[in-house]
Symmetry: C2
DNA sequence: CTCCATGACTTGAAGCGTCAAGTAAAGTGG
DNA sequence: CCACTTTACTTGACGCTTCAAGTCATGGAG
């Protein structure tokens, strides 16, 4: 924080406004497609996808929370819903009773398999295709820098 | 949409994952600072800021909705809350009874004035400072391209 | 061995956003 | 000038996220 408010320059303001619009509209587009085509939110998709890529399609809740960039509480609620829908099951870690393991059921796996292509197509259409190859690399670097600054702890450093 | 799912390459995936993290963590950081320091959400700040920059500190609801990148419904709810807090007042447009004019009260103006410096400082800290001058320009271009693709109508083209 | 601190969740209430209706004013065709 | 459509919102219900407790299992200190 500076003593002087230090207002944004025109260039900075343009970038900032573009980013704010992005922050509102991209999630809408992603959630919209998944909700329409698969009846799930983007975060639910991330959770299912995270599970599907874990060894044994099983993973600890806390690890899944980091993988999907969400709080443990949020994840707990979401997994409850996914469990009711029959896509995930929970059980206590046999080795350490504090951990809870989430595992993807066969129905959950099928759901991911049937949902993924449409989702990837949307990501391509909205994010990848509009950008040049150079911009894709720039986006990765910019995203990482801002994310690091916004979440200093990182929830997974060490 | 393609026939083939056409999976993402490594570079594309890296950029995509970086963007997904950004989408989650940046709003958290922005909302967090404003909530802690001023007791308002980022969207409420945008609405107040939009009003404060309008001529006569007054603007139509529909124009304010576009300015702040929100739906009319969302704006209506938010303005109701801001009205209860005494920062905004609503009245019907004398010229055309369908429009509603939102106007910033003096208390609302004071709120913006006292909140802005801390918010700008956070934006600087989290978004502007971590980037080079070139990256700031890149961010603007990338943001615009993705936003255009995600929101084809644009809610304000023509 | 017991008590307490810590870690890993789960739960419930409260607040916000979205969607689907509903309302009211202005424009438009006959 | 009257019905009908369009435009600009407002409202209510529902679902999801967050926040603050609360629970249960482990690991240590004495």
């Amino acid at each position: 924080m500076d003593d002087q408010p230090q207002w944004l320059t025109d260039e900075e303001m343009e970038a900032w406004l573009a980013l704010v619009s992005l922050l509102i509209k991209l999630p809408q587009a992603l959630d919209g497609q998944l909700q329409r085509d698969a009846g799930i939110s983007h975060f639910e998709y991330q959770v299912l996808a995270g599970l599907s890529m874990s060894p044994g399609r099983t993973i600890r809740m806390s690890e899944l929370a980091q993988l999907s960039d969400g709080s443990l509480s949020r994840l707990s609620h979401v997994v409850s819903r996914l469990e009711k829908r029959g896509w995930v099951r929970r059980c206590t870690d046999p080795g350490d009773g504090r951990y809870t393991l989430a595992m993807l059921t066969d129905e959950g796996w099928d759901k991911v398999v049937e949902t993924a292509p449409g989702h990837v197509a949307t990501v391509r259409e909205v994010v990848i295709n509009p950008l040049t190859k150079a911009q894709i690399r720039q986006l990765r670097d910019i995203g990482r820098r801002i994310t690091d600054a916004a979440d200093p702890g990182g929830t997974c450093p060490r």
